[in-house]
Symmetry: C2
Subunit: 541 residues, 2 copies
């Protein structure tokens, strides 16, 4: 057996299914680009049957990322998820057909509880449907992956049977998911061993593992599966995903790399890209990484800094098993000042992994100069916030022109907002709220009139010192949900889409206004509203 572990990233599919992680097609494309640079072998780009938007998002990734050779010399495999039904498989193929290396991933539940209550099928019917649908996918595509959903709670003997039939029908990868995060490493390792030992034809396919972290065991279970002979690991950046999330890409890759002599397994991942991709995914999804998260948390390497200042502890390895540079974490946070020129600015961005088009660079440089007027020391985190804010803004249907806020303990927080609408006209509205952000959002709502429910609102300061840029992420859901629905691959039910927004400014109320506008603009695009419904009774010039 070879010792190469294929990294199958499902940030854009299983990760994006987490409540509130919904990404725009543009954001998905950027993340896919970053995943390709990171060196993942396969990326599951989405569930095309969820909605036309989802299909289009996967299609763009297949076209653009699926045809660009990565560091391995090959373009990454682009995978689309499909339930084991013809319509889903048709849509998956439509989405990925233009990738140089397309893969269809289809799945069907095999645990007693899922077969009985969710599928309402007998085990024999489940085998037939799986076999039929793998064969159906095979007509489109040489590379077919099959997953027996909830394998962690399935009867192993039944798994040997159904997996054997899937191989006969043409499956090339068999993925074993612990869908509900139920197993222990011992059990999961034994399950994989049993499958490899007992499934007819298994020697000709790749066995894959897909774990969830409900009991905090996703990483250990995945490693146990690899030790038992699996050679593909399904993971997400920052471990995002439904409930407690999926196995973290960064934990698997760094465990295999740091403990190479123990595992004797390798991946094709460029570990120095990990920090950058982690931050990008956190920014776009609005899903925060806790400071004590392994590998990518803000404190993960924090002890080390102190020790280096300490003359007593000369040897790096005393409290450190990984070097921060290995994951692309650079300690030199002070990078640019007021007098830095455009060349130095661009050089620094390139070092950080941002390659900007001339026009974007000009705009970013202007923002940088403005920031440098306000703030003495511009750190790498400031630059990242600034570029992110610059590059990945959604289509601006409404743009923020001006904001004026009064608040405090007087109890009448008031905000006046001036927006430019789609036809270039200006709209002004003032509103009172429970706080300055509430007042600002009420004023924006009065102008745009896109009824929505705010699900989440988070601000954090990206850098030390309160003169820093504040970053705000919001997440909202259209009140009129019917037009913004997508289908869940697991439950098959229609779920409302949520829209996320991100804004950065030294004034957190301004950042809050930007973030909200970004999310609202996404909602407007999704509902095809490019016109200009002017608020009744609002004062506008």
């Amino acid at each position: 057996m070879d010792n190469f572990v294929r990294i199958f990233d499902t940030t854009l599919r299983d990760g994006e299914q987490s409540p509130g992680a919904t990404l725009t097609s543009a954001e998905k494309l950027e993340i896919a680009r970053a995943l390709a640079v990171l060196g993942v072998d396969v990326m599951e780009a989405g569930f095309p049957a969820a909605s036309p938007d989802d299909l289009e998002g996967v299609r763009r990734i297949a076209l653009e990322i699926g045809n660009t050779p990565g560091s391995s010399g090959y373009p990454p495999i682009i995978c689309g998820l499909a339930r084991a039904v013809e319509d889903d498989i048709d849509k998956a193929w439509l989405a990925i057909e233009h990738a140089a290396r397309p893969r269809i991933h289809t799945f069907l539940a095999t645990s007693p509880i899922h077969m009985k209550y969710k599928l309402r099928l007998d085990p024999e019917e489940v085998i037939d449907q799986a076999s039929l649908m793998v064969a159906y996918a095979k007509r489109y595509c040489q590379d077919v992956e099959f997953s027996p959903e909830d394998a962690g709670r399935s009867d192993p003997e039944f798994l040997y049977l159904i997996l054997g039939e899937a191989i006969k029908a043409g499956a090339t990868t068999l993925n074993i998911p612990d869908t509900v995060g139920y197993t222990t490493p011992e059990e999961f390792g034994a399950l994989i061993s049993g499958i490899i030992k007992n499934t007819p034809g298994i020697e000709d396919v790749i066995v894959s593992v897909h774990c969830h972290d409900d009991l905090g065991l996703a990483t250990a279970n995945t490693l146990a599966g690899l030790q038992a002979g699996a050679r593909q690991a399904e993971v997400t950046i920052n471990g995002i995903g439904e409930r407690a999330g999926n196995t973290s890409l960064e934990e698997i890759v760094m465990a295999l790399c740091t403990r190479q002599p123990a595992f004797r397994l390798e991946t094709g991942v460029d570990t120095t890209q990990i920090t950058r991709v982690s931050r990008m995914v956190s920014n776009y999804t609005g899903i925060i990484v806790q400071p004590n998260k392994a590998i990518v948390g803000a404190n993960a390497f924090a002890h080390e800094a102190g020790i280096h200042q300490d003359g007593m502890l000369k040897h790096q390895g005393t409290y450190e098993i990984m070097r921060p540079e290995m994951v692309g974490l650079h300690k030199s946070s002070l990078v640019l000042g007021k007098h830095s020129g455009r060349h130095a600015f661009n050089e620094r961005l390139l070092e950080m992994g941002y390659e900007l088009k001339a026009e974007d660079l000009n705009q970013a440089f202007t923002s940088f100069k403005k920031l440098a007027d306000k703030k003495k020391n511009i750190t790498e985190a400031d630059l990242a916030a600034l570029v992110t804010d610059q590059l990945y803004r959604a289509q601006d249907i409404y743009a923020l022109e001006g904001l004026q806020v009064a608040c405090g303990t007087m109890g009448m927080p008031t905000s006046t907002v001036r927006l430019t609408g789609p036809d270039g006209t200006q709209h002004i509205h003032a509103a009172v709220g429970t706080g300055p952000v509430d007042a600002t959002y009420k004023a924006i709502d009065a102008i745009i009139q896109a009824p929505n429910r705010l699900l989440e609102f988070a601000i954090h300061s990206v850098t030390e010192g309160i003169d820093a840029i504040g970053e705000v992420t919001v997440r909202l859901e259209a009140d009129n949900g019917s037009v913004h629905q997508r289908t869940s691959p697991q439950t098959g039910r229609r779920q409302p889409r949520t829209f996320g927004g991100h804004g950065a400014d030294t004034d957190i109320i301004v950042a809050s206004a930007k973030a909200y506008l970004t999310a609202i603009n996404k909602l407007l695009v999704a509902s095809g509203r490019h016109g200009d419904p002017v608020a009744e009774g609002s004062a506008h010039s």
Copy 2:
């Protein structure tokens, strides 16, 4: 061997060592009280030699929590950490002597790299010192725990030797730490098995495991250690701790409980208290829990809500291996409205686990009424924020009397602050900043003049909807660090103390001002500044 796993909580010691987690003595006491209700068997209340403040904090816990019988009928064991030197052990005893069940925990590194570079001792000298200091601790206290630091990278044969000597010297618990989070579950399980098989006298003591999450394996390693025969697990709430943190209490407890037939082990923890303690620790330390954190993340049980709405999936267990009620998570978020009376208010708080004194209840009820005027639906999260803000405020040397803020895109954010000082005089100052919070903090600084460096600033909205209460946590460090230092138990070096603050208000700028004042007040108390240094040149009435 019995099947009872002792839960040794080190949130207040190893957890509190995380950058920025510094807690006041009052906060530590509250957390200790909550840990006792949770039902932990042992709590490591601190490292008394770190500073006089730390000693005093442990002493108060020993007195108050260490003498109150918990759900088991006994008061919890109160443990103080000490390096293997007489002075540390003296201080640890001084801190815990009044507990009904005191324990001294002493440690000495045993890995080649630590002995050579940190201790600069030969292995024989390490054995002698460990043995001597365990015996020294034993003169004070029957219950002595010994840890060979960095055991995960130590020679097992050497561990058998030193642990055998520690038992001879009187140790009653032997704790095996994977200090740098280096081992795999297989390796760590084998290490514990080896120790139990080969250490003379081991049958008369409790073996304990203490893991770190640098590679995402802390939970799996701890469980592997328990399966190999360890009967104490050292853990923290939310897995906080240095770098990637410690093993999470909630993951160990819920894994043992959810997979009882697999592990056949039990704990004395009341799982329904988990959510409440998790939120308390997150609030007081300012260390955020990511939404995809197992058991206690905001999304950990999120899938479930959707499924229940779904007629197709009638059976709860389809995607759910734990019930949210088991960890004390109640879905009914809407609890009180404008017309709710004092009795209903108090009943709800009692249900949530808050038992307020009459005076505190009065104040909390007044705040509740004020909030109900602004906000239609008061949720459980609002109540928790309100009570937390009410109860656990630090000593107010300076109090916020008034705040008036103007900000927006004009670029001159201005804040005017009115504070009451320690002698009752009022101080007013106006300042301009890069944003409204910066301006507010500058105005406060100008009045109080307690030079500090802001390390962290985070805002989050606790409930759905932007009219909700916003919660702000800040963390700062005195610029003049020399008077606020504490000693690290691992490196022995002096580290600056950091001070955290928490504020809640529907106006996030007001909440930011409150949080900053709380932190500054803590800093003033720590530096013994109760006087009233008035800012020069500031306008005050």
